[in-house]
């Protein structure tokens, strides 16, 4: 049998190890550490089609993550998707005519919003709207177009005869 002190030390170690494991799960494994950059200014962008974009998808500029998608809504009047981007406060020097496009990481990867700087002198502020947008490339549409073109090619020689 372990002495009273030994007992308490072991139990203390046990509880500490358990809490350390929880802390590791929270900090290292989950996105808890990314919560800090939740502050920032919000900018809206309207897209015709957002593809597989989700809330919390990354917003990147020159390949560096500068923010996240905060909200996605549908505008029933213009039939567009309204995407709210939350951009970290330290990147507050984006020109007003910055353009936003939806890209896919790899062929089957997740969607993200890519920003490209414009040339204007005034900067985007909280509540602004990005005017220049480019929708997501939907793979099905591309395949459809490709097949259509193939079919057209196949027909053309016959028409010549």
């Amino acid at each position: 049998m372990v002495s009273k002190h030994g007992l308490e030390i072991w139990v203390g170690l046990f509880v500490a190890a358990g809490l350390a494991a929880l802390l590791m799960l929270a900090m290292k494994v989950s996105n808890m550490s990314a919560f800090a950059d939740d502050q920032g200014y919000r900018v809206q962008a309207r897209f015709e089609n957002i593809g597989g974009l989700k809330i919390r998808s990354p917003v990147s500029m020159a390949g560096v993550r500068v923010g996240r998608v905060a909200d996605i809504a549908f505008d029933a009047k213009t039939y567009e998707a309204v995407v709210t981007l939350r951009i970290a406060e330290k990147y507050n020097t984006l020109p007003k005519d910055t353009s936003a496009s939806i890209f896919t990481a790899g062929v089957l990867g997740e969607n993200y919003v890519g920003l490209e700087a414009g040339a204007q002198d005034s900067y985007l502020k909280d509540g602004d709207t990005i005017k220049l947008t480019q929708s997501a490339v939907v793979l099905e549409n591309l395949i459809g177009q490709f097949l259509f073109n193939k079919a057209q090619e196949g027909k053309a020689p016959e028409g010549k005869k």
Binding site: K4, V15, A17, G18, M24, A26, V29, N31, P58, L108
Partner: protein, 260 residues
């Protein structure tokens, strides 16, 4: 035919009687928990035998489960050129399901059965009646500290299981198979959500802790006070805990992750 019906009826009545006794017993034990907090040494001793002594099996199993998951997942994921997703796959399956469930099953095998046997033998050797004679409430003195120790230990053990499992898959995935270390962690961080995954996993393991320890102490307290009775009660603890944990896991998963 009548005899068959009668035995069916008796079985049903026995079942519900036991269930009712178990629930009353749980209420009594929960009511005894405040008095445990007045005597923390009782709780520390139980935390040692329930928690500390289970660490070994939890850590070893967590490590091997994580390593095997990493190995198996890697083979399938490379077929799709998605070996970078090894981190999130392993982390999600461990944190959401395998961590709480396997830790609870191991916990019932390691600590639950010991609790049942201990309490059952106390009953068989009439120590519990002895306590009552001395005006010591055995539920407050014996049962409540063990129940509380189980409820505290289980989430900690499950967290250790998941953490060690993820480390194990890191060793195999990054160390042996050559997945990129940065991609392993960053993909994991972008896919695993604190509230959705880790917090819910924590709640799961807490529920399993309550269920597993409750069954263990009740089976011990309710055991037939003979050698055979105690041995049966110990077996029942492990079997019933497995049923209860797996059943409640399905319900909890459906509630937590079912609708999106």
């Amino acid at each position: 035919m009548i005899l068959w019906l009668r035995s069916l009826g008796r079985g049903g009545l026995d079942f519900f009687e036991r269930l009712g006794r178990g629930n009353l017993f749980a209420l009594q034990a929960l009511a005894g928990i405040p008095s445990v907090l007045m005597k923390p040494m009782l709780l520390v001793a139980q935390l040692y035998s329930v928690g500390v002594l289970s660490v070994q099996i939890i850590v070893v199993s967590g490590l091997t489960v994580g390593m095997v998951l990493g190995l198996q997942m890697y083979n399938t994921l490379t077929d799709f050129g998605a070996s970078q997703s090894l981190g999130p796959v392993v982390a999600l399956s461990l944190v959401r399901e395998l961590g709480p469930v396997l830790a609870a099953l191991l916990f019932s095998g390691r600590a639950g059965s010991a609790l049942t046997a201990e309490i059952g033998l106390m009953k068989a050797t009439e120590q519990l009646s002895g306590m009552e004679m001395m005006a010591v409430d055995p539920i407050k003195r014996v049962i409540a500290p063990r129940l509380l120790a189980g409820i505290i230990s289980m989430p900690l053990l499950a967290a250790m299981f998941s953490a060690v499992g993820i480390l194990g898959s890191y060793f195999v995935g990054v160390g042996l198979l050559g997945v990129d270390s940065g991609a392993f962690w960053s993909q994991m961080q972008s896919k695993v959500d604190f509230y959705q995954d880790i917090y819910n996993g924590f709640i799961k393991s807490m529920v399993f802790g309550i269920v597993a320890t409750w069954i263990a102490v009740f089976e011990g307290y309710d055991a037939v006070p003979t050698t055979e009775g105690v041995s049966r009660a110990t077996t029942r603890t492990v079997v019933h805990t497995a049923f209860a944990v797996l059943g409640s896991d399905f319900v909890l998963t459906a509630l937590m992750f079912g609708e999106k």
